[in-house]
Symmetry: C2
Subunit: 158 residues, 2 copies
DNA sequence: ACTTGTCCTCGAGTCCTCTCGAACTCCTAG
DNA sequence: CTAGGAGTTCGAGAGGACTCGAGGACAAGT
């Protein structure tokens, strides 16, 4: 039960690049300090894979790396802070739910717009009110109140 | 029907800061070039509000500004490219749906983890298998295949 | 001996989306 | 006339999450 994985192997298993893995380590995203072999190479275990899979889930659902690091820190600290971990997770759960609602509202707006275009195209109505395409922006009105909220962005695909 | 809005007013109505509005203009996110008054000040109309509300929806659902700019460009170009607009929107629709699926999978994982902690806490089992908190990382396995996909990030709230 | 492959460190660069500040112009009210 | 508030431009900086590359080490295969 103590499989030993190289950075290349764990990279393959998690989908994270070796570069990213080192970066994550540096950012304290691991629960345990990463061990090294005689030649100074990183040695991972399967529990690291499990952890990383969870971590990427958290990240993909919008948790900042710093927060994941905080969570990792709590786990690293050992028993006694379960309540804190739970709070952190619950808070994130709320974020995710909110995110999904926003997404679903946006999806509705996009879907509505798509139908409009579909209708217009099927009707073969080439130069109708589409010339400016703005009047049809009748989207449900955003639930937004103030400030920014949850912008995403990929970075470069490798 | 031609209300005239200052940058401050449109900022209030869209939740975007004046700085951001200027930035968006610079990035060609507007359908029409923004008019100016005698003193060189920006003058917006209510259609701009509508457009911005749609644009923020697109952005909030993960469309990069560059893509929104492309869409705006198509609309600006006038009738004749409806198919292209439709394609763009359909593609985004797919992205949003995929995003929601990922989110929902992550939510499941988080929810599962939360239940585990809840159980452990209710059982008042303070120093149980929680010491390392890793063994419970039995998350459904990510649908991820390769490369990065949809990281989010807020920037600074103002 | 040499090539290949995988790994190491460290620092810099990139992308995206803002966000801020400095320095200046206008308009309006008192 | 003056002060305040809202606008303007331009350029720099910030934050987040990578991503890349140079330069070097070591181990195994031919």
């Amino acid at each position: 039960m103590s499989d030993v994985l190289s950075i290349g192997e764990i990279s393959a298993q998690t989908g994270l690049s070796a570069h990213t893995l080192r970066f994550y380590e540096q950012e304290n995203l691991f629960v345990n300090p990463v061990a090294r072999d005689g030649a100074g190479r990183r040695v991972y275990g399967s529990q690291d894979v499990q952890w990383l899979l969870l971590a990427t889930r958290l990240r993909d659902s919008g948790m900042p790396l710093a927060e994941i690091a905080r969570y990792a820190g709590l786990v690293r600290a050992g028993a006694g802070n379960e309540q804190e971990r739970l709070d952190l997770l619950r808070e994130h759960q709320d974020h995710v739910r909110a995110q999904m609602e926003r997404l679903s509202a946006s999806l509705d707006a996009v879907t509505a717009k798509i139908s409009l275009y579909e209708i217009a195209l099927v009707d073969g109505d080439p130069q109708n009110p589409w010339s400016d395409g703005v009047q049809d922006c009748v989207v449900p009105a955003p639930p937004v109140r103030a400030g920014r909220q949850q912008p995403p962005h990929p970075s470069r695909r490798r």
